[in-house]
């Protein structure tokens, strides 16, 4: 598969995730959109890593897997982020019996 194809898929994934994060009112769906954007970025990193590997191979073996390592880091961070995000959503639900983001405006003033 060519690099272009993978980047197009990643861009599409990012756009879908962005739409979900910006347009949906349910906090859980917003979190899901954010996860989609994470994965789009991961896909880009892995694709790019694979793409530049033949050039960096000649110089330093340790740089070959940079893109993949990055992706692994982001997966770990994303897991933590989801845990935290869901925790906040739970707290919000307990407080207002709602997960609608347009209702969460108590901190405005």
């Amino acid at each position: 598969m060519s690099l272009q194809a993978m980047l197009i898929v990643a861009a599409a994934l990012f756009a879908i995730g962005l739409y979900g994060a910006l347009a949906r009112r349910n906090a859980i769906v917003v979190l899901m959109g954010i996860e989609l954007m994470f994965n789009a970025v991961n896909l880009t990193l892995v694709a790019m890593g694979r793409y530049v590997a033949p050039q960096t191979l000649q110089q330093d073996i340790s740089t070959v897997l940079t893109g993949q390592v990055f992706a692994l880091f982001i997966i770990a961070v994303a897991a933590a982020e989801v845990t935290l995000g869901l925790g906040i959503v739970f707290a919000m639900y307990r407080h207002t019996e709602s997960v609608d983001l347009t209702d969460a405006v108590q901190m405005r003033h």
Partner: protein, 697 residues
């Protein structure tokens, strides 16, 4: 043989006294204030001994070249500090330490019972130390530092009784007026700093005083480093500083007001420290002055004009200290005129003798004040019966001021007059003639106002003293701390038997003794330091002090032809000046002797508008205070700045506040609390940045 530490000690002893009094005695031992006086007297006694040693060594050419200690280094300019002991310094060291010592002894009596006794002696230590540092400085920056310290100390001492508004104002006036002159001096130093590369190229240091002397002289290859118009301006800058300190014409107005300080301070200012510093500065840079005929002309004319102007104002003053103050201004004018006419050693000789008799006259004035509790001569009179010693000493000092043989003033004034008469190679002939004429007329005026002072103070009937003055002025009599009578706090310290006012009696011994010493100096100093007509007197060769000064100048010029001769004593000139002086004395005697006991009217008041003009001091003070300060400065300059501040600066500040206060309201509407609205804004913003990057790349 003097060594470097010994010479430094002359400066450091008063510094030490200042530190001990202000850091130890005043905070911890203020219950025994006499300690501070005796400490300073002890330090000055030691300093005087060391100064005499230094003079002895300098007279025998035993003064070594002292080391210069590096202080600062800026580019090619190195500022060092060190000692410069030449005949000028050596003689002045003795004068300053001796006069200061006597004044301090006198102050023990005069300041007795003052609540700020220790503070007084701390300031006095600082004053003396600053003057000694000024004399010893070998570097122009070092000299400038002590120069400003002298100014500061005089400010503190003139305003010593700072609770009196007049004293505070006088201190401020003295400080600001001398500072105007100092700007010229500072500009001259800055010019030297910018020329330091040129100096360095010739192997000289732009701040080292002997190197500056060198720089004014033509080099073998071509012109001097300092020459032409630049030299003239540098010299005039230095002279501006000197004119401020020595109260020469446009800047003379501060000295008579400086009378608000304690009388011993006045004696010190007028005899040895403050005003002598100006003449010393001109003498210190005299090789530069000699290289510029224009500058010499300015110095001579300003000096002569000041001598005349101040003498005329002295004629009509009623405050005994003001008469003496104007006489000081006048005598300093003599010295400056002599310097301008090339009579270098005569001017310094006069500075030397003047220190004795002027200190004596001021201490006598203080002694009179001690008795009658006022300085206004119209309330004195008849004191010679009560204060015989003060009377005799005032006569001696006064006749010396007039220039009557054989007192000190006679010898030096004669040297000045014959020097001005003789040497006219340095300046145009008309300058010499005008200078001589003004100085000769001033001799007459000096004689007149001196005898007027003596008659008003000591002859006739007693006219009531400070008590009566206060009574007539409408002040409640038994108020010893009234701001009106100058040194009135004394009355509080005195036994109550005199009703809190005057007590017509001779001053205590501690005050008389210094006056007696100065009186002996006034009688003898003129002849002993500079014997005439003999080969040597008690081991002092003929014309010793003038030859000594001249030698110092020749060394400074390092062999350059000076066109200067040591003025010889001239019998004709002596006879002429004595005749003029006697005429002045006779005139005063005719006008003031045998007036009615109670009359307070001055016969000079018949002069009408001339009397008013003189009494108002030619309106110079009015010009400075009302027109220059009041109108021009406060109204015009300060008014314009005030308008700018109110409208322009404040307007800008208010505008800034207005913009942000009102811009906040619409911006606040953007904060909705909708998280997703913020996210949309962020997204659009990043897209915009990305787009901008792609387009403008």
């Amino acid at each position: 043989m003097v060594s470097e530490p010994l010479v430094w000690a002359i400066l450091l002893l008063p510094v030490l006294s200042f530190l001990i009094i202000s850091l130890v005695i005043r905070p911890f031992l203020n219950r025994i204030p006499a300690l501070s006086g005796w400490l300073l007297i002890g330090c000055l006694l030691a300093a005087l001994a060391l100064s005499l040693m230094t003079l002895w060594a300098a007279a025998g050419h035993h003064v070594p070249e002292f080391r210069q200690h590096a202080w600062l280094s800026v580019g090619s300019a190195t500022i060092a500090f060190g000692l410069l002991v030449d005949p000028l310094t050596a003689v002045m060291l003795v004068v300053v330490t001796a006069v200061s010592l006597l004044v301090q002894v006198y102050s023990q009596g005069y300041m007795k019972g003052d609540p700020s006794y220790s503070r007084y002696y701390a300031y006095m230590s600082l004053f003396t130390a600053a003057m000694l540092g000024l004399l010893l400085a070998s570097n122009i920056v070092q000299l400038y530092m002590f120069w400003e310290l002298v100014g500061l100390a005089s400010y503190l001492l003139i305003g010593f009784w700072h609770h009196r508004p007049a004293a505070a104002a006088a201190a401020k006036k003295a400080f600001i007026m001398t500072r105007i002159g100092d700007v010229g001096f500072l500009i001259a130093i800055l010019y030297l700093f910018f020329q330091s590369d040129k100096f360095a190229a010739a192997g000289l240091n732009a701040f080292h005083i002997p190197d500056i002397w060198q720089a004014a002289q033509p080099l073998a290859a071509g012109g001097a480093i300092l020459g032409g118009a630049a030299l003239t301006w540098v010299v005039l800058g230095i002279f501006a500083g000197a004119a401020g300190k020595s109260a020469q014409f446009p800047l003379h107005a501060w000295l008579p007001d400086a009378m608000e300080g304690p009388t011993p301070v006045s004696a010190l200012i007028h005899a040895a420290t403050m005003v002598a510093a100006g003449v010393f500065l001109v003498a210190r840079f005299y090789p530069l002055f000699l290289a510029s005929s224009a500058a010499l002309t300015v110095v001579a004319l300003i000096g002569a004009f000041t001598a005349f102007l101040a003498a005329t104002m002295g004629l009509v003053m009623n405050d005994i200290k003001r008469v003496l103050a104007y006489s000081t201004v006048s005598q300093l004018g003599y010295m400056m005129a002599a310097l301008g006419m090339g009579a270098y050693s005569a001017a310094l000789f006069h500075l030397f003798t003047h220190a004795f008799f002027k200190a004596l006259l001021f201490l006598a004035a203080g002694s009179v004040n001690h008795a009658v509790d006022t300085f206004n001569m119209t309330y004195m009179g008849g004191l010679r019966r009560h204060m015989p010693w003060t009377y005799v000493l005032t006569i001696i000092g006064g006749l010396s001021l007039v220039g009557i043989i054989p007192l000190a003033g006679f010898w030096s004034k004669d040297e000045i007059l014959s020097g001005v008469w003789g040497s006219s190679e340095l300046v145009a002939p008309w300058v010499g003639r005008l200078t001589f004429l003004l100085l000769a007329v001033s001799v007459l005026l000096t004689a007149f106002y001196t005898l007027r002072l003596v008659i008003l103070t000591f002859h006739g009937q007693f006219r009531g003293g400070g008590e009566k003055e206060r009574e007539e002025a409408g002040v409640v009599a038994p108020a010893p701390v009234s701001a009106h009578a100058a040194d009135s706090h004394h009355s509080a310290a005195q036994p109550a038997g005199h009703g809190g006012g005057h007590h017509l009696a001779e001053s205590p011994m501690v005050m008389l003794l210094p006056m007696l010493v100065l009186g002996v100096g006034t009688v003898a100093a003129g002849y002993v330091a500079n014997p005439q007509w003999v080969h040597s007197l008690l081991g002092i060769p003929g014309h010793w002090i003038t030859e000594f000064f001249h030698l110092g100048l020749e060394e400074a010029l390092s062999g350059r032809e000076a066109h200067l001769a040591v003025p010889e004593f001239s019998l004709g000139m002596a006879a002429a000046s004595t005749l003029i002086a006697l005429a002045g004395l006779a005139l005063a005697a005719a006008l003031y002797r045998g007036r009615g006991a109670e009359t307070r009217k001055d016969p000079l008041e018949r002069g009408g508008p001339v009397y008013v003009l003189l009494n108002r001091r030619y309106l110079v003070d009015v010009l400075y205070e009302n027109v220059l300060t009041g109108r021009v400065f406060y109204r015009a300059v300060a008014g314009a700045l005030d308008w700018l501040d109110r409208n322009l600066v404040d307007g800008l500040v208010n505008l800034t506040g207005l913009v942000f206060r009102n811009a906040g309201r619409p911006l606040g509407l953007l904060q909705t609390g909708q998280v997703q609205f913020y996210a949309v804004a962020l997204t659009l913003g990043s897209l915009l940045v990305l787009l901008g990057y792609l387009v403008l790349r």
